[in-house]
Amino acid sequence: MNGIPQKNHLRPITLKSSIYQQGGITILELSGRFDAAEAPHVRQWFSQLNGSDPQRVVVNLTEVIFIDSTALAVLVQGLKRCRQSQGDLFLCGLQSQVEIVFELTRLDKAFEIFNNLDAAIAGFSEYGSKTAGV
């Protein structure tokens, strides 16, 4: 279900994604261009997350070379969804092009952003011990 018409085939690099679990954390690794053409797939993935369990998601953007406003909107939706389930969504590995967008829109204030995947996973274990202590 790709709602964007034909121009996709001209695209040199499209988004690739892989998903895996690590210690109760779901890691979504994206690479390529994360834009309006690709955002629906990611949105769909977020929308099928089980709302009853706390969702801990790391979106690894290390390989993402470009991000647009539609993609940002999808990440925000994912963030809200995770937080509603008492979980969270962390970002990691922002390239400078991507980082600028987050800075321009001040979304770096809304997301917890880590330098790399390990730091993000570590962030969750801290987070987990914090919430477990409450």
């Binding site: 018409p5 647009d68 406003s69 940002l72 809200k80 800075e103």
Partner: protein, 574 residues
């Protein structure tokens, strides 16, 4: 039964049916048989109404020919009477149908001599011819030849009748086909079409029972039957399973236990059902109860298949038509929404002392979430707002209208509004609504004080905002807060920017920097910054026009993906 009814007619009634003719000296007694009269149900004859209901019987072949070819029989009779016979008569089952008698009987004495010859047709005796007054061998041969001739005549009549019946059948089928093709033009609701499909299917295939169903995922969602409550949902589901297991078609004989549910008063030999896929998971199933022996079944099955395919095509057309209508309606509504949305935006920028203001919004095809607004205050202060609600379509448009209204009322009614207060309070108001739908809005609020020549602003995630001081480099102003609807903060940061003569501020939406060309390249911030810098010495409206033009030229051939909104504020030189 009716034969008895006929036989029991009184002499009086039989006499009424006589027509007495005197022609060329011959008296003809034609018993216009009561059977024939029966064709006219209730016929007035000499003031007596014949209750024909009880003697409704198909006119016998002999009397039919006698009626139709009266003059031919008359000719035979005349020839007999002219050659010495006293009476020529036609009989059926020892019952007189017609007789022609010489008007001047010889000597008044009854002629005893008589000849008879049966009329044979396919080894059955249909009646007889009788002549009185002659008895010679030659006459017998002649009478036999005439009986043969009458039989041939009956045979021809029969054939003609059969051909006429076929012709009528064919005509009827053609008419039914015509009706079938015309149906969708007349009624474009599914129920109506299903109903007329059933009617015509039954007519064309002479089915004793029929159904047409529209199914999604093999579940009937719309059922039309003849007679109305022929089968229940359970039966249809079981039948569909059977059809699925075979392929697309099934032929069940009346002994099949599945068909035990068919009401007893419906006689049939087979149930034929065929499922035709039309689109996605939608199928049409046509079922017919046919009363046909194996030898006559085949053409009806072919017809049923063809009609099934045709019905499915018709229904598909209707569905497509309905979808098109729905889409057209939706499109009209969206266009209306889009117009209303544009009208929410200020039609022309206000006159503010010391400022040149240009503003414009070009919505993408969908209704979108871009907006701008101007609010003038009594003390010459001036507030302007540019925003972009994430997403597209009606949801973005609705949130945009809400956001605009809340921002506007905060700007208007706060005693001493600052951009930070306006935005912070609005964010608090709208937080729940944004959260519920998982959306957000980037908003820039600017507040110009002409006395201080100062712009106070707050930027909630909005980009691009370009500031170009007179003669200087254009630069992007970063946001200080995330967009509205993300964090439940109540207060946003105020920033100050001294706006000197010649300084330009361009607040656009991402429809500019994310505009694409055919090779999927985006316009980007750099081009925007360069353009603003190049154009900074021009008027606000010229800057706006050039930005629109350049982005438009850049994306030539590509559809505009997103709304493009721009507000250009330029401090005019004194």
């Amino acid at each position: 039964m009716s034969r008895n009814g006929h036989a029991s007619l009184t002499a009086h009634q039989t006499l009424i049916c006589y027509s007495r003719l005197r022609l060329c000296g011959i008296i003809a007694h034609l018993v216009l048989s009561c059977r024939q009269l029966a064709r006219y149900q209730r016929l007035k004859w000499g003031g007596v109404t014949l209750a024909a209901g009880k003697i409704l019987e198909k006119q016998s072949k002999l009397s039919a020919v006698l009626t139709a070819k009266q003059d031919r029989f008359m000719g035979l009779a005349q020839a007999w009477l002219a050659t010495g016979a006293t009476t020529f008569s036609v009989w059926e089952n020892n019952e007189l149908l017609a007789s022609w008698t010489n008007a001047s009987p010889t000597n008044g004495s009854p002629a005893l001599a008589s000849l008879e010859n049966p009329i044979h047709l396919r080894e059955k005796v249909l009646g007889k011819l009788r002549v009185e007054g002659v008895a010679d061998n030659q006459s017998q041969i002649r009478l036999a030849a005439e009986a043969y001739f009458v039989a041939e005549l009956i045979k021809l009549e029969e054939e003609l009748e059969a051909m006429t019946a076929q012709l009528v059948d064919t005509q009827d089928q053609l008419l039914a086909l015509y009706n079938l093709t015309q149906t969708p033009r007349n009624s474009l609701n599914l129920d109506g079409v299903l109903q007329s499909l059933i009617d015509e299917l039954v007519r064309l295939t002479k089915a004793t029972g029929a159904f047409v169903t529209l199914n999604t995922s093999n579940q009937p969602i719309l059922v039309e039957q003849y007679p109305r409550s022929l089968f229940d949902q359970l039966f249809l589901q079981q039948l569909f399973q059977r059809i699925q297991s075979t392929s697309r078609e099934i032929l069940l004989h009346s002994e099949d236990t599945l068909l035990d549910v068919v009401p007893e008063d419906i006689s049939f030999d087979v149930l034929f059902a065929r499922t035709i896929p039309i689109r996605n998971r939608t199928t049409v199933t046509v079922g017919l109860l046919l009363q046909q022996t194996p030898s006559t079944l085949s053409p009806y099955l072919k017809l049923a298949r063809a009609l099934g395919e045709y019905s499915a095509a018709q229904l598909e057309n209707i569905l497509l038509y309905q979808e098109t209508v729905e889409q057209a309606k939706l499109k009209a509504e969206l266009e209306l929404a889009s117009r209303i949305q544009l009208q929410l935006l200020p039609q022309r920028p206000p006159q503010v002392e010391g400022l040149e203001i240009a503003a414009r919004c070009i919505p993408a095809l969908d209704v979108g979430g871009d907006f701008f607004d101007f609010i003038e205050h009594d003390n010459h202060l001036f507030t302007f707002v540019v925003g972009d609600v994430s997403g597209k379509g009606m949801s973005a448009a609705l949130l945009m209208a809400m956001t605009r209204t809340v921002l506007r009322s905060e700007a208007k009614f706060l005693p001493t509004p600052t951009p930070g207060m306006i935005l912070g309070r609005s964010n608090t108001h709208l937080q729940d609504d944004f959260n519920d739908v998982g959306m957000f809005a980037t908003v820039f609020v600017g507040h110009f004080d002409p006395i201080k020549q100062e712009l106070m602003y707050t930027n909630a995630g909005h980009s691009p905002v370009i500031y170009c001081p007179a003669g200087g480099r254009a630069q992007l102003l970063k946001a200080d807060d995330p967009p509205m609807g993300i964090l439940p903060t109540g207060l946003s940061q105020n920033r100050k920017l001294s706006l000197n003569p010649g300084d330009v501020l361009v607040v656009a939406t991402d429809g500019f920097n994310e505009a694409r060309n055919l090779t999927d390249e985006i316009f980007g911030y750099q081009r925007l910054l360069q353009l603003v810098e190049q154009m900074a010495s021009k008027s606000a409206s010229e800057i706006a026009a050039v930005l629109f033009d350049d982005v438009d030229r850049f994306g030539a051939g590509c559809p505009q993906d997103d709304d493009q909104t721009i507000v250009v504020i330029k401090h005019t030189e004194y």
